[in-house]
């Protein structure tokens, strides 16, 4: 079968040649549209480097990982990356977005998008089996899509794909081909399929609790999962991917995930004493660990710039945050340079109080908003608070940089007329009510496209209610309309124009402040080979070995 290359790929290629599009952006967009990464790199004039180790990979060994083991049941309802990092060794995704933000087919052989971006044909990989012996086919994929879209499951995937896809619009062509008929054009379908709750489930055995039937297509089987304690995965012998030595992956015999909570000091000493090999920092940040271990020759640290942020979020359905002047005043109290320096040791990028970061392809260049307490006071007075305003800020005390963000903001906001009382609580307590607090700081993870988080957190669901993860309840008609347009606009420059408007609206009347964007690190002992940094902190460990 000759694969047709999406016409937009050729447009993008000429864009790239004219210098309008970077090579990296070209790679990303063309792979998004179903050109294989190999073809795309050739078109971009980059050589394709596969991760081949010249046969000197050592097999065997157990990798010990420090992490936090939350209560889990349904993978589609995960709100922790750490949870997905355990089960992603067992269950897999249709696609894979690598550390350079390029998306590849994974459980898919490839995908083909129609010219109008409304019909997506997914061709499934053949010869893949679940670890209980069942064959992976289209029924599993359709079953999993339906889980995501099922209201009663309560998956964040619904907020992500529910706007363009409904259960009736998934067509099974044959056992290895599916067609998605989208309601509106969408470019990020392959990247959505790598969102961390999007693990493919076995339609024959899955009944709502993955721990009861841990049947995935991944290289490991789940042997043990004890919440707050220990999880063990063991290598299976019939995994579909082959290693550099021609035998089936993985190289490791097993992985042990040890719950070490969110305290970093025990992890530092544990990795120094070789009791653990890798620290999963995806949910806890790792500034202290980075600082403590960056000069240690026995430790390997991989950094990745990310779009992950601590989002200062204001619920617009409660007083005083229902007034957009109050929200803007709070943004004016952000001293972004100081926040990045103190809260995150200068490791990352200054925020601009809208949820798009400088390295998103469609980012529209804008200056960093200055710290302006006088303007804040004036806005507060206009909003009816001439004597200033006292507010309570919910803070998870387990994230040191969130606490520092809060402390710096409290101090800087005094001059702006705000009196902020910090209400600290353990992180787990914050997660229990993160969508409910009036005013809080919520960690948001990295997402590779600018549209992705905006669709999750700043719009309404099809019924007109704020989406499941819209923690601030902020729904703006103009913003939603432009966002819908952006979702179906392929040309980067055109998207950028739309994003100029989106960013401005979110700054002027939005519901959040963003102090800084964080860099993330992967921290391992240097004997651990084959690691690649990932902006999400996803543990893509099929190729990992212990040397």
């Amino acid at each position: 079968m000759k694969k047709r290359i999406h016409p937009a790929v050729h447009d993008m290629k000429s864009d790239m040649e004219k210098g309008k599009l970077s090579r990296r952006e070209f790679l990303r967009y063309s792979t998004l549209l179903g050109v294989s990464a190999f073809t795309a790199t050739q078109m971009a004039g980059l050589s394709w480097t596969s991760k081949a180790f010249a046969g000197n990979v050592k097999r065997g060994g157990t990798l010990k990982v420090a992490t936090a083991l939350q209560k889990i049941a349904h993978p589609a309802t995960y709100s922790w990356i750490a949870a997905s990092n355990v089960t992603r060794q067992v269950a897999e995704y249709l696609t894979l977005t690598d550390g350079k933000n390029i998306t590849h087919p994974y459980l898919l052989e490839n995908w083909i998008a129609s010219d109008d971006l409304k019909t997506w044909t997914l061709n499934l990989r053949k010869g893949v089996t679940f670890n209980n012996g069942d064959t992976f086919n289209a029924d599993d994929v359709i079953f999993t899509f339906n889980q995501w879209l099922d209201e009663s499951v309560g998956s964040s995937m619904k907020g992500m794909i529910g706007g363009y896809l409904s259960a009736n619009n998934i067509e099974k062509v044959n056992d290895y081909q599916i067609k998605l008929h989208l309601l509106v054009p969408e470019i990020a379908v392959p990247e959505h399929m790598f969102h961390y709750p999007a693990q493919i489930l076995n339609h024959r055995t899955f009944e709502g609790d993955f721990l009861k039937a841990p049947h995935g297509t991944g290289p490991y089987t789940l042997e043990t999962y004890r919440e707050g304690e220990l999880a063990v995965v063991k290598a299976r012998s019939d995994y579909w991917q082959k290693g550099a030595d021609g035998k089936a992956l993985p190289y490791l015999d097993a992985m042990h995930f040890l719950d070490m909570g969110t305290e970093t000091a025990p992890m530092i000493s544990a990795i120094k004493s070789e009791d653990i090999d890798f620290i999963d920092l995806s949910d806890i940040g790792g500034t202290d660990i980075f600082r403590a271990l960056k000069d240690d020759p026995e430790i390997n640290i991989l950094a990745a710039p990310t779009a992950s942020a601590r989002v200062l979020r204001m619920r617009v359905d409660v007083k005083p945050w229902d007034n957009e002047k109050v929200r803007l005043a709070m943004r004016k109290c952000h001293n972004h340079e100081k926040l990045l320096a103190l809260a995150y040791m200068g490791q990352g990028l200054e925020g601009q109080d809208f949820h798009v970061y400088q390295l998103h392809p469609e980012y529209c260049e804008m200056p960093i908003p200055p710290y302006d307490p006088q303007a804040s006071k004036k806005l507060l007075a206009e909003a009816g608070y001439p004597d200033g305003l006292e507010v309570n800020l919910a803070v998870g005390s387990g994230w040191p940089d969130v606490v520092r963000y809060a402390e710096v903001l409290k101090q800087d906001a005094i001059a702006g007329g705000f009196k902020i009382n910090l209400q600290t609580m353990p992180n787990s307590q914050y997660w229990e009510k993160w969508t409910e607090v009036d005013f809080g700081i919520t960690p948001w993870t990295h997402r590779p496209l600018g549209t992705m988080v905006l669709n999750l957190a700043y719009k309404a669901d099809p019924d007109g209610n704020p989406a499941a993860w819209n923690e601030t309840r902020w729904v703006d008609d103009e913003f939603s309309e432009i966002l819908e347009k952006a979702n179906g606009t392929l040309d980067v420059e055109k998207r950028r124009k739309l994003f100029c408007k989106l960013q401005k609206i979110q700054y002027d009347r939005g519901s959040i402040g963003i102090g800084y964007w964080r860099a993330v690190w992967m921290v391992s002992r240097s004997v651990v080979k084959g690691l690649e940094g990932h902006p999400n902190g996803y543990m893509l460990f099929n190729d990992v070995s212990i040397g």
């Binding site: 970093t264 000091a265 530092i268 202290d288 600082r291 403590a292 100081k338 320096a341 103190l342 803070v395 005390s397 387990g398 040191p400 606490v403 520092r404 809060a406 402390e407 710096v408 409290k410 101090q411 009196k419 009382n421 910090l422 209400q423 600290t424 353990p426």
Partner: protein
């Protein structure tokens, strides 16, 4: 006649104070303790005059610095002056109780905790000891049950349940302190109530409340004072522990425990000072109070 009685009272009070002072002076241990405690009380009282900074001011170009001429003890992770935070932290422990951000009561958090515990504990102990019978059984078994729970756990349960603030820390300290004080006062009461003057008061027809609070309580004060000093030490320790676990005063309060907790992350990265100073402060104040209590006890026993 009334005049004469007053003079007598004044005289005896004066004698008691001189006695106390003599005990203090004659014990070297007590004097060392007293000096340490007075040092902290002094810096706490005069904190605003002993530093050019406020505990919240952030010199954001200079975070995590060691001691220097500008910041004699260095700065913390947000560039705040450690000396300033230390002495304002002592204020919260010993001199003021911040009820809300605008209202503060005189008397430190640790002191309030112990005073409230004393009031409740002494009352329960007196009632149990003097009345005896089923009241005594009921009160003491309840308190025994409380004492069976490990102290730290009890603190954590209380603070997690009612939230972290200065007033709630006072409540936690006093709840945890009540059983010990009640036991002490009860045993003293059991001894004192067999004395002749209690008999005399009962024959006079005084009420039970009068006998408990006017006849018995004043005569238990010696051991209670020593116990209270030790208890303030424990309370400071408890505040440190709660703060360390993130359950003390909410940030950015200069809470010693939370200063240690935050500074701890930087011990491994070359700035041990942020954790060192508040640890020393807690240790020295607790040791000072223990020395003071020990010295007074030893000397007063010899004195008797």
């Amino acid at each position: 006649m009334p005049e004469k009685v007053e003079t007598n009272n004044a005289k005896t009070k004066k004698v008691r104070f001189t006695d106390m002072f003599a005990i203090l002076l004659s014990s070297k241990i007590a004097m060392v303790g007293l000096v340490i405690v007075l040092f902290w009380v002094f810096v706490a009282l005069f904190a605003p005059y002993l530093t050019p900074y406020t505990p919240y001011e952030q010199d954001w170009k200079a975070p995590n610095q060691g001691p220097s001429a500008e910041h004699i003890l260095g700065t913390d992770e947000l560039g705040r002056d450690l000396w300033t935070r230390l002495i304002y932290g002592a204020r919260v422990v010993l001199v003021v109780l911040p009820v809300s951000e605008n209202i503060s009561l005189p008397g430190g958090t640790a002191i309030w905790g112990v005073v409230v515990a004393l009031l409740i504990g002494a009352t329960l102990g007196l009632i149990g000891g003097y009345k005896g019978g089923w009241i005594d059984e009921l009160v003491m078994r309840l308190l025994d049950a409380m004492m069976a729970i490990p102290v730290i756990l009890l603190y954590l349960i209380i603070v997690v349940a009612i939230g972290a603030s200065a007033v709630n820390v006072v409540i936690a300290i006093s709840i945890v302190g009540v059983p010990g004080i009640a036991r002490l006062v009860r045993s003293l009461t059991l001894d004192i109530k067999t004395r002749e003057y209690i008999r005399a008061a009962e024959t006079r027809g005084e009420s039970a409340w009068f006998i408990m609070f006017v006849e018995i309580l004043p005569n238990t004060r010696g051991p209670i004072i020593i116990d209270a000093m030790l208890r303030i030490g424990y309370a400071i320790f408890a505040m440190g522990t709660l703060g360390f676990l993130g359950l003390g005063m909410p940030p950015p309060s200069p809470d010693w425990g939370s200063m240690v907790a935050k500074g701890r992350a930087f011990i491994l990265t070359g700035n041990p000072y942020a954790a060192l100073w508040p640890s020393l402060a807690i240790a020295s104040l607790v040791v000072g109070l223990n020395l003071l209590a020990d010295g007074i006890r030893e000397e007063s026993m010899r004195y008797q």
